[in-house]
C-alpha cells in the first residue's frame, strides 16, 4: 500500500491514456511491421513466408521497383534543386523588410494552409489544364510560348509535380529561416562592419554560418519528406503517364490495396516500406556523421 500512498497509482493512472494510445497505435505496429514483412498476408489468410526473405526478393524482382526508386530519387533531387535555395533567398530578403513584414510572411505562408488535396485538385483541374485555354497555358500564351502538356507527358509530369509540391511547402521553410535570421546576434554584423565587410560579405561570413545548423537540418528533413511523396503522384497522375511518376510510396499503396492479381500483398508492401525506412535511417546517420564538424559553431 505504500506504493499507492506515494502516488504510484496516480502516476500510472495519468500515464494510462498515453501508454494505451502509443502502445496500440505506435509501438505495437512498429514491432508488427517486422513480423508482417516475413509473412504472406492478404487480410484473410496469413502464412509465414518461405524462405523468410521471399517478400524482399519479390520486391527486388518487380520491374516496377527500380522505376519507383529512380522516380522517387528524381522527385527528391528536383525538389532539392528547386525547393532548397528558394526559401533561403526569399527569407534573407524578407528579413530586411522594414515595414509590413507581417504581410510578407502571411502571403508566403498562405499556400501552406490550403489543404493539400485542394491544392492538387486546383492545379490538376485548372492550372495544369493541357489545352490552350488552361490557366498556365493562357499565361504562357501572353509570352508566345506554345501550350505545355504539364502532367500529361512523361517528360514534364514529374517536374510539374515538383513545382506544385514546392509551391505548397516553401512557405513553411521560409518561416523557419525567418525565425533563425532574427536570432542572429546584431553585434556580429556590427563587428563585421568594423572589419569593413560589405553586404555580400556580411551574408557570406555572418548570416550563412549563423544559419548553418538549421540549414543542415532542413536539408535532411526535406529529403526524408520528399522520399515519402505520395499525395502528388497519387492524385495528379496515379503514377502515370507510363509510370513516369510511379514512386516508392505509391508502390507500397498498390502492393497493399490494388494488387494487379486482385488480392493484396501486405507482406511485400511492408517489406518495401521497411527498406525505405532503413535507407532513410542509414542516410541520416551518414549525413549527421559527415556534417558533425560543421554544425557546431
Amino acid at each position: 500500500m505504500t506504493w499507492v500512498r506515494r502516488g504510484g497509482l496516480a502516476n500510472l493512472l495519468f500515464l494510462l491514456p498515453l501508454l494505451l494510445i502509443f502502445g496500440i497505435f505506435s509501438w505495437w505496429p512498429i514491432i508488427d511491421s517486422f513480423v508482417i514483412s516475413l509473412q504472406h498476408t492478404n487480410f484473410v489468410v496469413t502464412t509465414w513466408a518461405n524462405p523468410f526473405w521471399s517478400n524482399f526478393t519479390f520486391v527486388f524482382n518487380d520491374p516496377t521497383f527500380a522505376i519507383a526508386v529512380r522516380n522517387t530519387a528524381y522527385f527528391a533531387g528536383l525538389a532539392l534543386v528547386l525547393g532548397y535555395p528558394v526559401p533561403l533567398v526569399l527569407a534573407v530578403i524578407m528579413s530586411e523588410v522594414k515595414r509590413a513584414k507581417g504581410l510578407f510572411s502571411v502571403l508566403a505562408y498562405l499556400p501552406v494552409v490550403i489543404p493539400p488535396v485542394v491544392s492538387v485538385l486546383l492545379w490538376k483541374s485548372s492550372f495544369y489544364d493541357a489545352s490552350a485555354t488552361g490557366v498556365f497555358n493562357t499565361i504562357l500564351g501572353w509570352f508566345h510560348i506554345p501550350p505545355q502538356p504539364w502532367i500529361q507527358d512523361p517528360l514534364t509530369a514529374m517536374p510539374s509535380l515538383v513545382l506544385e509540391a514546392t509551391w505548397a511547402a516553401a512557405g513553411g521553410t521560409i518561416i523557419i529561416y525567418l525565425a533563425a535570421l532574427t536570432n542572429v546576434a546584431p553585434e556580429l554584423y556590427d563587428a563585421a562592419e568594423v572589419d569593413g565587410a560589405g553586404i555580400w560579405k556580411k551574408i557570406w561570413h555572418v548570416t550563412l554560418p549563423q544559419l548553418r545548423g538549421i540549414l543542415l537540418i532542413t536539408f535532411i528533413l526535406q529529403i526524408i519528406g520528399t522520399a515519402q511523396v505520395f499525395l502528388e503522384p497519387y492524385l495528379f497522375t496515379k503514377g502515370g503517364p507510363v509510370q513516369a511518376t510511379e514512386t516508392v510510396l505509391l508502390l507500397v499503396y498498390q502492393y497493399a490495396f490494388q494488387s494487379s492479381d486482385g488480392g493484396s500483398n501486405l507482406g511485400a508492401a511492408t517489406a518495401l516500406s521497411l527498406m525505405l525506412a532503413a535507407c532513410l535511417a542509414i542516410l541520416s546517420a551518414i549525413y549527421f556523421r559527415a556534417t558533425r564538424g560543421w554544425s557546431q559553431n
Partner: protein, 335 residues
C-alpha cells in the same frame, strides 16, 4: 505527412499581460527607443547602408519585386479559385483569366450543396474528425505530459525515450501495420474500419504533442507545485486546478494544429474510411474531393474546393502568430 509546430516554451510566456492594442503601441514605442539608444535590433543591412543610394534603390526594388511575387504566388491562386467558384464553367474553361465575363453565378455553390456532391455532409464529417482528434490529442498529451514531466515516476525516463523514438520514425513504416491494427485492434477488439475511432485514436499517438506539452510543463515554476502539495493538494487536484489552467497557451497551440492537421490528412482517412454504402456519413472532405473530381463539372468542383478551404484560411488569419512563430517544421518536409 503531418504538419507540426515548433514552439519553444519561452515563446509562450507565463502570466504575460494581455497584449491590448494600447499595450502594443507602448511596446513598439519602447522598442523604438531601445533601437535609437543602442543601435540594436538590426539585420544584415545597417542603417548607414540604407542611407547609401547604391544600396537603397536596388534593395527597395528587390523588396517590391518580392512583394509582387508573393502576391502572385501566395494570394492570386486563392483569389482565382474563389473567382472561378462563382463563374460559369464554360467561362472558366474558355477564358480562365477573365474576371466574371458574364457576371457572378451562385449555381456552382448550389450544386456543391446539391444531391450529387452534398458538400455539407462531408464538411460536418471533417469537423467531427477534427473535434474527436482534438479531444484525444489533448487528453493524451496533457495527462502523459503531466505524469512524465511533473509527477516523474522512476520508469518515466524509459517511457519518454520510447515516445521520443517514434519522432524519428518515417510515417511510412506504420502504414500497413497500423491499418491491420485498425482491423483487429489489441485490447479494444472488433474492427474500427469505417468508424471515426479509426482516425481519432491513432492521432493521439503524436510524440510531437507530448514533447511540446512536456517542454512547457518543464518551464513551469516548481515552487507552485510544492506550495500546492503543502496545502494538501493531491496529484489530481494539482493537475485539474493548477497545471491545466496554467497551460492555456500551449493547449491553444496544440488545438490549432490538431484542427489544421485533421483538415489536411488524406492518406490515412482514405484507407480507414472507405465509406461502404454511405460515404456521406463518414468521409471527410479530403477523401471526398478526389472521388467527385472525375464526375463533376469544373465549376461545382471549384466551388467545393473553395468551401473546403474556408476554415483553414480563417483559422490561419485569426491565429497568425501561432502559425508564424516558427510554425511548421512538418510543413517544410511534407512529401
Amino acid at each position: 505527412m503531418t504538419f507540426t509546430p515548433v514552439v519553444s516554451p519561452d515563446e509562450v510566456v507565463l502570466g504575460q499581460k494581455p497584449v491590448t492594442p494600447r499595450r502594443q503601441r507602448e511596446l513598439r514605442k519602447s522598442k523604438v527607443r531601445v533601437v535609437q539608444d543602442a543601435g540594436a535590433d538590426r539585420g544584415i543591412v545597417s542603417s548607414a547602408d540604407w542611407r547609401r543610394p547604391g544600396v537603397r534603390f536596388p534593395l527597395a526594388t528587390m523588396q517590391l519585386v518580392l512583394l509582387i511575387l508573393l502576391v502572385v504566388v501566395g494570394l492570386l491562386p486563392i483569389l482565382w479559385l474563389i473567382k472561378s467558384a462563382l463563374t460559369d464553367t464554360q467561362d472558366t474553361l474558355t477564358q480562365p483569366i477573365a474576371i466574371f465575363p458574364h457576371g457572378i453565378t451562385w449555381d456552382n455553390v448550389a450544386q456543391a450543396f446539391g444531391i450529387n456532391i452534398q458538400i455539407q455532409n462531408y464538411f460536418l464529417n471533417t469537423i467531427w474528425v477534427a473535434a474527436g482528434e482534438w479531444v484525444v490529442q489533448i487528453v493524451v498529451a496533457t495527462t502523459g505530459g503531466y505524469a512524465l514531466s511533473i509527477l516523474k515516476p522512476k520508469y518515466g525516463k524509459v517511457i519518454t525515450a520510447m515516445v521520443l523514438a517514434t519522432l524519428f520514425l518515417p510515417a511510412i513504416v506504420l502504414l500497413i501495420p497500423l491499418y491491420l491494427t485498425i482491423l483487429h485492434p489489441l485490447v479494444i477488439g472488433g474492427s474500427l474500419l469505417n468508424t471515426f475511432w479509426a482516425v481519432w485514436l491513432p492521432s493521439g499517438a503524436s510524440a510531437f504533442n507530448v514533447v511540446l506539452v512536456m517542454r512547457f510543463f518543464d518551464s513551469l515554476p516548481r515552487e507552485i507545485f510544492e506550495a500546492a502539495e503543502t496545502d494538501g493538494a493531491g496529484p489530481f487536484r494539482l493537475f485539474w486546478l493548477i497545471v491545466l489552467p496554467m497551460s492555456k497557451p500551449i493547449l491553444g497551440v496544440v488545438t490549432v494544429f490538431a484542427i489544421i492537421n485533421a483538415w489536411k490528412d488524406f492518406l490515412w482517412p482514405l484507407l480507414v474510411l472507405p465509406g461502404g454504402s454511405n460515404p456521406a456519413s463518414i468521409q471527410p472532405l479530403s477523401v471526398r474531393l478526389p472521388s467527385i473530381e472525375g464526375t463533376t463539372e469544373l465549376g461545382p468542383l471549384l466551388a467545393s474546393l473553395t468551401i473546403s478551404t474556408l476554415i483553414p484560411i480563417v483559422l490561419f488569419l485569426v491565429f497568425q502568430r501561432t502559425f508564424l512563430s516558427g510554425g511548421g517544421f512538418g510543413g517544410a518536409v511534407k512529401g
